[in-house]
Symmetry: C2
Subunit: 135 residues, 2 copies
């Protein structure tokens, strides 16, 4: 979408490790038989580069335009996951996204199930996705 080369790392079950980000989009998911939460966390440098490639302007830091973009990306990625999981018979509805901004924050999904961590790398910084479902 933003023509930035994003290299996926090894997806894994998040145990003790701490994954930090500077701006994150979070969304809750509720279905008839399952509920859970999703997050996508960007390094500030990467979020700003994506913003630049999409809109042609480079903000000095994380502003309302950047958090709007992160909220939209959160909706898009969760919407894609919802479609794929729906085809497999896992139905859920998405809540509205929440965007968190703050240097080096960490996220903990308080679910009974494991949290899956999907790390990605790019020339402009890291992004990672986390998803967790209650059984």
């Amino acid at each position: 979408m933003a023509n930035t080369k994003i290299v996926p790392g090894q997806p894994r079950v998040k145990k003790d490790e701490v994954a930090q980000g500077d701006v994150s989009g979070l969304i809750g998911m509720v279905g008839p038989t399952m509920k859970g939460s999703f997050s996508v966390s960007f390094d500030e440098s990467l979020a700003i580069e994506i913003m630049f490639r999409m809109l042609g302007e480079k903000p000095a830091g994380i502003n309302a335009d950047v958090t709007d973009m992160v909220g939209e990306i959160t909706n898009m990625v969760t919407g894609g996951a919802k479609r794929i999981l729906g085809e497999k018979g896992y139905e859920f509805s998405m809540a509205t996204p929440i965007v968190v901004s703050g240097k080096n924050h960490t996220i903990t999904h308080k679910c009974d199930g494991p949290t899956i961590l999907m790390p990605f790398n790019s020339d402009f910084g890291k992004v990672h996705i986390e998803v967790s479902f209650d059984k």
Copy 2:
């Protein structure tokens, strides 16, 4: 619950103001006719004091016990709101909580509706609740 005197401030519609916290519990809400998001954000000093009063031990900083407690508080407060709103005919289900930890982070609810900000003060620091529903 934790015998800390919490003084409520004036609830208001959040406009341009930025409310910061050090540890926040977030939860998504999905109903047949509405969806939204909820957050409760603590100053680190207050979260640690509540932990101390509940469990008798004072952690040096925000650790897994503190984020567990914040997740539980998030569930409790949202559960209370769910019951009160359910009695008024507004039904929704709660997703699983997410806890964010990081000095002075800010939260933006990406909802079509306004965000209601409820600030509280105590001798040990501030806490604020934010809630937003799509119409």
